[in-house]
Subunit: 337 residues, 4 copies
């Protein structure tokens, strides 16, 4: 079980303000969890948080909430597009196989970088994919990034048939060994071969639906001749090209709740140091600060809220998309496979 | 706040059996804690475990029980002594700035190495010393190893006067920046310049007393001209030469309990796979297994028990030594400064 | 272009003596090369060593002799076999994605570990497989280790058909993304499902021949419908189970010389600190030292000699096996596909 | 012996254009060297380049030109100054203890980041300071960066007296164990306690002279009572605050030439992808490209030229400053101690 965080907005955010400073920022989501509106029972003997409506999958060990297998962050700077004079705005990605909390490079990078769109991810490996930086999310395909919280059931069994479905380019863009990167390659096979242009929200949604259908069919097939019960998959994905966002909170079976996922269109100012407030509740007054309505439109989607103001955060319903278009309009809708 | 573990015995132990396999082995002491006979209140909001008789020091952040800043293990093989034909049995040390749980090198090493004496340490950095492998314990001085759980108050202020007390050799043997390694250098200055011979238990004890006195005096001096209150230090140290062990559980002030420390002279067989029992309680029967009395004499000293059989573990009283001589006799006695 | 080194003998060797101490030991084969009897032209502008009878492949950049992409070492201790009471003697493996020269863990490990069989490998990545520890050789399958110097042509094209040839176990034992690990999985598919027993030398040889035939056929097939010229592969492999060794120096085309490979049955005493000689020529006298005839039978096979005594080293002929049986008898014979 | 590179200009440069793309860029200066106008004899047996006018110091081993002990890059983005509304423009720093050539994070960072001032450094450790990221240059003090090529003689002997000369702030800003970081702390002690403002070029120069004098005096003192000969130091330093630059090529003894150092005020356009030329000589034509005179004023100072156009590069005379003011005017002048 991992954790991920997305910020997309018309106003640049300082990475430090969204990823590092808040008391419950993603770099601290190693073993502490804040999950408003989810019904959780904590079993101190095994360190496992059980959702009231589901059971943790067998693949995950007793420490599955201990996100210590590294971190990744991807963000758009626009710099290469300007130097190459080609409008191709690909993301910059930094990944490390160590926990982020005391990573001096990450801390410096976040203190000096702002962006209108960032993906961040903290990993708990499943034991099947080693703790090496190439297995850290997000994964980059052209100008797109892709990340995941959850796991694909029977991945080792479906890997070869999945590889056979891939375009040459998508296949050649796999550098690690995670289930997620292979699902991403399938998504970008469905998207077509041009990963440097922006497509319609409808196409993004259709591509994700095709990907989910393929994955579920491959898993179904992997058990068809056997007595095995169909295993459960958790598929909370996020994909962006820097100006649009598709996120999905998805469980392959109704009896299991998918991993937590929240969104907010109001938490941004609280996180921004230019605003007269603070994620942990303290009031700050500074001449240069701007009021809420002076801050830009933005959307945050994250496994856990990064502020303790629960009213700023909405739990995404199970098996639903969060769709954010170029004008930062948000639509939450049921996934229809 | 770190965690450490020592095994010393007449019978070799497989590293995997003591460090990896037990449900509560040291590599898993990242965020789960088992502290029998200590009165603890857990504050879920900050993830902090407060001892009933003390308050966490200010230098430690809210995640101070999250031991994610790397791991170190040191053990004696006797191989170099045999090849060099000189009876100098120095330890082999492996340290990594990442959590040990999914460290493939450590897992392989522990599966294929046995020893009669091992030190292991999982680190929570204080923010003052960076998360780099040279800041991971244990530290080696000749045939000796040294490690620590706790922190030296005002370390940055006492560092220069401490350096001036060091012998050239001890000073030249510092490769990192932790308080612990500097205290170790002071200990080995007091021990004298020959770190390749075995000394009497009395001398080991006297050397540690001198070291504690020096540290406390340096801290005292660092605040003497000022309004500052004397700050508190936690000084749980362990030192070995492969055949003797000195451990100490020490708090510089009576109103603060030192970090937890336990010892056991009976948990070894349960941990050993050749014994018809198991650290987590399951019974195993196998022809090759030996009964308790057929297993060798041994002592384990550790920040937390590595088995859930609380009756095998004794809490070391505050401000006491655990002294283990060459014949593995154990003496627990009050520190008299 | 990588470099590898094998020692197998009836007498244990200290890892430091064969891997670290010699002036031209493998950890120093980063940019300095010693290749007696090979005709080389050095082009200082691109840093490329051209064999007189071949041309460097296109996939390798101008720095292809700069072996900076990490190191791996695997060796047998017999410890797990003793603790598990099952005679299964699997290797201990340590791999790091950094150069070995200043790796403190490796230096300590080599100073304190002896073995009768060791594999060591220093890597120059081809750019297709990232510099992460799981891409460092040797690769372990049960009690066997496998490593490679060279590259498999068109690997990305043959990967999926190769995966389809693998047994479930061999497929499930792949943790990285190199061509070598996939070839190894094919070798261990051909060897059968029991990787914990020792087989005949004949079976090892037959298994390697089948593997080479499969690889060459897959490459042939990958170009069949196209105008492409058949690309060249360099396939210097080594495989051991701790008591037998198969090494092969192989080029897929006669017009290209395979990477260098040497063997020696006499260099061992010079490397061993117990012998009155030294790899770099200095004489040492010490009472405990033993004469040549008192040292054990052994075989070393390596990309480059680790001593400067050229007379101790034989260049393996192109497309030949070096076969070492349980009694350490050496046979060098032509590969007959 | 390390290598460093500085670019400072009125026009932002893409990091990739100056640090990665050129055939002889700093990330490739691992084992290949291009040193126009220096008289070098290459000894292939030890891999050592001897300057005609000096002898390599004893502290450096035979591989001292093998810069494999990690990399660091620091650059100014202006982002924090904007978010904090305080005009304090501190640098962003990324350091890694591995060679940079295949570092995926560095490659991505350089492809997406531009700056008007960058420091880059590739390290060859001396064996006294371990290969950990905190020992990689540049070192940051407020808005300043500091780096070094060479070594301070007798550093372990002068370290304690040097520490006693430091201001509390400078002392508290040391996180590693290199000679360089300690010299930097001395420089910033002399500069005064405000490291966030820009001072006069005269003050920068005076501060460096005081620092050099102190270092030389400390070394002198370290040998005064003994028969020792005064050892030689190589002190090529660079220091910037993002808008001014001081570099110095300095040898403590006339009979030893300092490490190489070049500067250029014309190589910038060739390196910039917007210019109709290319560092390796190929002509490119592209509508968006700008002519030489359309590119901004800039200065590059580096251990080795990063283009093969020798006419663009001037060897800095021994024991001379290169001083670059806020208007990017360059003065080269003799160091007068």
């Amino acid at each position: 079980m991992c954790r991920w965080f997305v910020y997309i907005g018309e106003e640049p955010t300082l990475l430090e303000d969204v990823l590092i400073k808040p008391k419950h920022s993603i770099v601290k989501q190693i073993d502490l969890h804040f999950l408003p509106n989810l019904h959780i029972t904590y079993d101190p003997h095994v360190g496992q948080n059980k959702l009231s409506s589901g059971v943790a999958s067998d693949e995950q060990g007793p420490n599955h909430f201990t996100n210590i297998d590294g971190f990744g962050v991807g963000y758009y700077t626009g710099v290469a597009a300007e130097f190459n004079d080609d409008h191709v705005n690909r993301p910059c990605v930094y990944r490390n196989a160590r926990p982020p909390l005391n990573d001096l490079n990450l801390i410096s990078l976040c203190a000096h970088t702002s962006t209108k769109c960032v993906f961040a991810h903290i990993r708990a490996g499943t034991g099947l994919s080693p703790t090496v930086e190439t297995n850290n999310h997000p994964f980059v395909f052209g100008r797109y990034m892709f990340m995941h919280n959850g796991s694909v059931a029977n991945f080792s069994k479906i890997k070869v048939p999945l590889l056979q479905k891939l375009s040459t380019d998508a296949y050649g863009n796999i550098f690690g060994t995670t289930d997620t990167e292979h699902v991403a390659a399938l998504f970008f096979t469905h998207l077509g071969n041009d990963w440097d242009t922006v497509v319609s929200m409808e196409k993004l949604k259709k591509t994700m639906i095709n990907t989910l259908q393929d994955i579920l069919a491959l898993i179904q097939e992997s058990v068809k001749d056997k007595d095995e019960t169909l295993p459960h998959s958790s598929l909370n994905f996020a994909v962006t090209n820097g100006c649009q966002l598709l996120a999905v909170r998805f469980s392959s079976m109704d009896e299991f709740e998918p991993p937590s996922l929240y969104y907010s269109t109001t938490a941004g100012p609280t996180l921004n140091r230019k605003f007269p407030d603070h994620p942990d509740g303290k009031k700050i007054t500074k001449a240069s600060m701007r009021e809420t309505h002076e801050h830009g439109k933005h959307v945050i989607v994250a496994s856990e809220p990064s502020t303790y103001k629960a009213e700023d955060w909405h739990l995404v319903p199970a098996n639903s998309f969060v769709l954010v278009d170029k004008d930062l309009n948000v639509v939450v809708e049921k996934v229809q496979l």
